[in-house]
């Protein structure tokens, strides 16, 4: 095995590929987190809703999504789902970078299912009397949740949500199977073009690790800035 060529990671074409991959990974993770969190809150509220059909809808979403592996979701959103659309829509969709869109949809729906369960647990950790008191003061279901329960629940949920966000960040690597040019994809490209597998995967490992540690730091800061209130 040739020695570890650090220069390869700092300059030149392979460096550019890997950095381009890193940017795609960041974009994919950022977009997915931004979409998955609100969706997760909606799904958690559905599962706690006073109406049975809504509770049933939320439960179906969570169980239907989280019990199938992520890779199957991504292959479905890339190869399966768009084929059901009319031809004209398909053409317009495929003219752009549909690989990225499919990965973002698949990852968002997948992550939201897990996050929804975290948020639901957080809501259930807030004593029911708080919700009842808010209702007694004349607030409806949504305002009571929004103004009284959720602000407390989301604070409790920060640690499990952080785990989920870190998993999501690492899961963006699965998007390589549908041809998204993210970090794993570019590392494999460097590997087959130059056989510098150790360098390429060292870069990728360091980048995922750095990303995850940065997320941990952000979560620690959020936890300090908005601590769990004693109940």
């Amino acid at each position: 095995m040739p020695g570890f060529d650090l220069q390869l990671l700092l300059h030149g074409q392979y460096h550019e590929w890997l950095v381009a991959g890193l940017l795609v990974s960041l974009k994919l993770a950022g977009l997915t987190i931004a979409c998955a969190l609100p969706l997760a809150i909606v799904v958690a509220l559905l599962r706690l809703s006073p109406w049975r059909p809504l509770r049933w809808l939320g439960a179906t979403y969570v169980e239907g999504i989280r019990n199938v592996p992520l890779i199957a979701h991504l292959l479905f959103w890339y190869f399966g789902a768009p084929e059901l659309l009319p031809d004209a829509w398909k053409e317009r969709l495929y003219a752009g970078s549909y690989e990225f869109v499919a990965a973002a949809i698949g990852l968002t729906l997948y992550a939201a299912a897990f996050m929804a369960e975290n948020i639901r647990s957080g809501i259930r950790a807030i004593p029911a009397v708080q919700f009842e008191a808010a209702r007694a003061l004349g607030l409806g279901f949504i305002p009571a949740m929004r103004r009284v329960v959720l602000p407390q629940a989301l604070r409790v949920t920060v640690p499990p949500l952080l785990s989920q966000v870190i998993i999501l960040w690492n899961d963006t690597s699965v998007a390589t199977v549908i041809g998204v040019g993210e970090m794993m994809y570019q590392a494999a490209r460097v590997e087959s073009a130059a056989f510098h597998s150790v360098e390429a995967f060292a870069f990728v490992t360091a980048a995922y690790l750095a990303g995850s540690l940065a997320l941990t730091a952000v979560a620690a800061w959020i936890h300090r800035r908005w601590p769990v209130r004693t109940l």
Binding site: M1, G179, G181, S192, A194, F195, V198
Partner: protein, 275 residues
């Protein structure tokens, strides 16, 4: 902290290097084991694929590997591997020999050794007939699809620098994406393209293969570096197959007029390991 990291890295690297030099003479090891482990794709008809009736891996490269195992006097064991994993699997000693539609090129010569050239093919591009693309230059600015880990991406970029390339884990996924219209072209070895088109049945009139070759690809068996004894027995076996006319028979069996590929005759000889 930085120092610690460096020394950790050095330990890991040293350990990896040790593993890769642990074998003294691979041919002796193979004889001692009584079997030769051959890395094949198993998904690339007719080079190596699973026979739907017997569920066994068969094909052109499989027959060559069987002849080599017979010559050494051991049992051949076929192990399916992914395109991108071929060279690492060989280097790390998980397979003894690669018979996996492996292109012999200069870059790879620094990584592994190659047997005599066992097949010569060219990479081409398949498009939908309705796309109106008549030849390779018209792919400029378009998206083409292919498999990860091979030489396809590099070759199509060389031929059409402005092309956009999307790669998948298997050739079937790339071909599927072409059928669904997710790209304008699908790049692969000509033999694989012809075989893929043949599988389409009546729909095959909707596809065509562009005339220009992206590259000439000599395929060969892969052998770990610095294993002269194993390389000699592999090359001797191949040369004997060529001399006895057996190599031609194996070619006709898998690529000839009675197959989906329908090649009339062989356009190459198994007689050189130079490219």
């Amino acid at each position: 902290m930085r120092l610690k990291l460096k020394s950790l890295l050095a330990t890991v690297l040293a350990a990896t290097t040790l593993v890769s030099v642990a074998h003294a003479d691979q041919l002796a090891d193979i004889k001692k084991k009584g079997e030769i482990v051959v890395g094949v794709l198993g998904t690339d008809e007719p080079n190596s694929f699973v026979d739907p009736k017997t569920r066994e891996i068969v094909g052109y490269e499989v027959d060559l590997a069987k002849a080599i195992a017979q010559k050494i006097g051991v049992k051949p064991v076929f192990k399916q591997i992914a395109v991108a994993a071929r060279i690492p699997e060989l280097q790390q000693g998980r397979v003894d020999l690669l018979a996996a539609s492996l292109t012999h090129n200069k870059e790879r010569e620094s990584q592994i050794d190659f047997s005599l050239t066992t097949f010569v093919t060219g990479q081409k591009v398949m498009v939908k007939a309705s796309s109106g693309i008549a030849d390779v230059p018209q792919l400029a600015g378009k998206k083409v699809l292919t498999v990860k880990g091979g030489t396809q991406e590099e070759n199509v970029r060389k031929a059409v620098p402005s092309v956009e390339v999307v790669t998948f884990e298997t050739t079937q996924q790339a071909f599927q994406a072409l059928q669904q219209g997710k790209g304008a072209g699908y790049v692969n070895d000509e033999a694989t393209l012809v075989n893929d088109i043949a599988k389409l049945g009546p729909a095959k009139k909707d596809y065509r293969i562009l005339p220009t070759n992206l590259s000439t690809e000599p395929l060969a068996l892969g052998i770990r570096k610095n294993e002269p004894a194993l390389k000699k027995v592999v090359d001797d076996t191949l040369a004997e197959l060529e001399k006895s006319g057996e190599a031609d028979k194996i070619f006709i069996k898998w690529y000839g007029p009675a197959t989906k590929l329908q090649f009339d005759k062989r356009s190459f000889k198994i007689d050189s390991d130079k490219i």
